[in-house]
Amino acid sequence: MTTILDTTTGQPATGTTPPGVRRPRIRLRAEPGRSRHSTRTKALVISGLVLFTVYSLAPVWWLIVAATKSRGELYTSNGLWFTDINLWNNLKDLFTYQDGIFLRWMGNTLFYGVVGTAGMTLVCVACGYGLAMYEFRGRGFLMGCIIGSFLVPGALLTIPSFLLFTDLGMVDTATAMIVPSFFNAFSVYLAKVYAEGAIPPELLEAARIDGAGEYRIFFQIGARLMSTGAATIFLLGFVGMWNSFFGPLVFLRSSEKWTVMLGLYSWLKVKTDSSVDLVSLVVVGSIISLIPMVILMLSMQRYWRTGVTLGSLK
């Protein structure tokens, strides 16, 4: 079982080795590890991974290349490599088309996303905290409601929500996008799980003995200890809102209130306008609509990993 020229590195349990510290490449004795394979298996593993990576990245690569092409070349040249770079003109077309409505859509989506998700985070973190830290009558019932609502398909709610919003005069308003998004059962669930792990009850007890009120304890202790969980909830919520399609399609009517995804869809449907080829606008618009997502995801990588593990605990 000892392979002297084993080139694979051992796998320390996550967190035991600081990043950047390399394991010695040659070991006389195999230590407990996950990966010790023959060169053939290793080559197989790597080529498999490379293949999957090409599959994952190629479409995005096509999008990036296509965004730089002029309208004519989009149809005639090889889609996987650059011809002359026409990105600047494409961007100018995108931002000036119909008096810059694309910028308006981006602004709308950002506004709905930030306000909606910030409110959601506050409401849901408070609720999760309450459910995790206090014993009160009806708590079991409320938890049941939350878990039960996971099973309700979104499809069931959309049509009656539309009728409800009509009664409330909310159809085709920003309110229809923002306020309902405050109340996300899954976020409450995440917040509760997170609060249970992050807040030691003794700490709250100590604060109470010192005479702090319950609300003050929440804002000064609970909310702070939950900030990582809250960031995760915010991130997942924001991504969800940025990507949402069915809701905006049903609840928003006039184009100046649309989200960017709805706008791109409308351009896809129209295809060609008398003066502009909308295909290249959709391509460039898609890239621009990705940028906030990519920035957010990369800068908050740590948090969405937490979200994935929290979510899979279910």
Partner: protein
């Protein structure tokens, strides 16, 4: 103190009551009524209580059920394939060294960072015979592929779904694999198990819980598939009809035909089907003997 504790949950549950419970109750109520044009078809509509008529009509609605069948068949084929690919990918990643795995993992997650609509747009253009590179690529091998045709459309959508979801599913399975203490593998090796055997007999059973989770989520999502066919419809309205999937049919009944009551009844039927399918799957997979 308990009262104050409970007060933290008040804002959420007020909103929950208004925006989740109320629509649910409304859906139930609406599904029992029918709007009927009065007399000659002029003037306002009158709302009448019709009992379970909408449900009876819904259960016999051939176009709705053929949409359901179409999607169910698709789910039954696509979800296992996607799960298989995700597990395979997670096993590959787990077999690579930590350094390598970290680098690949980020790249493999790129599709997950692409918003769903943009992913659909990208693939719609890739499939397009006009601008996409895929049609000329297949022509090189002498294959005339029309990705928008009736026979190919589900393969096209399935590939798109695989592309956007494998990364995320892989992440969950990989996280579960990482949680396994490495000593287990060492003792298996000492007992003479091959790497393949270890992968199949130890790793796969250990990640079954995560697989069940991602499968249930996929089933719920796939039966309600909407935006993918809706966007494809704008390219090939002949192939992707307006009631191609259950949700598209519901959307069509509500917003093109104005039959909100019937649409509400169909929503409830769909919800019951989705719930039953997920519960059944959960039961079946949890009954199978562990490892």
């Amino acid at each position: 103190m308990a009262l104050k504790g409970a007060s933290f949950t008040v804002p959420f549950f007020l909103g929950f009551a208004l925006f989740t419970v109320t629509p649910m109750v409304m859906a139930l109520k609406q599904s029992l009524y029918k709007a009927q044009s009065s007399g000659l078809g002029f003037g306002g509509k009158t709302i009448q209580f019709v009992g379970l008529d909408n449900f009876v009509q819904g259960l016999q609605d051939i176009r709705f059920w053929s949409a359901m069948g179409r999607v169910a068949l698709f789910a039954a084929i696509a979800i296992p394939l996607i799960q298989l690919a995700s597990v395979g990918l997670a096993l590959l990643l787990d077999a690579a060294s930590q350094r390598l795995a970290d680098r690949f993992r980020l790249l493999l997650l790129v599709p997950f960072m692409i918003p769903g609509i943009v992913a659909i747009l990208i693939w719609i253009y890739l499939y397009s015979p006009v601008v996409g590179p895929l049609t000329p690529f297949f022509r090189l091998f002498g294959i005339e592929a029309d990705f928008y045709s009736g026979s190919m459309i589900w393969i096209s959508i399935g590939n798109l779904m695989a592309w956007s979801s494998i990364g995320f599913n892989m992440l969950i399975v990989y996280a579960a694999l990482r949680a396994v203490p490495p000593e287990i593998y060492d003792s298996a090796r000492i007992d003479g198990a091959s790497e393949w055997r270890i992968a199949w007999s130890i790793k796969v059973p250990l990640v079954r819980r995560s697989l069940v989770l991602t499968s249930v989520l996929s089933i719920i999502g796939t039966l309600q598939i909407f935006s993918d066919p809706m966007l494809f419809r704008s390219m090939t309205p002949e192939t992707v009809t307006r009631d191609f999937t259950p949700i598209m049919a519901i959307y069509d009944w509500a917003f093109s035909q104005g039959e909100f009551n019937y649409a509400a009844a169909l929503s409830i039927i769909l919800a019951l089907v989705v719930g039953t399918a997920s519960a059944l799957f959960y039961r079946l997979t949890n009954k199978a003997p562990t490892s």
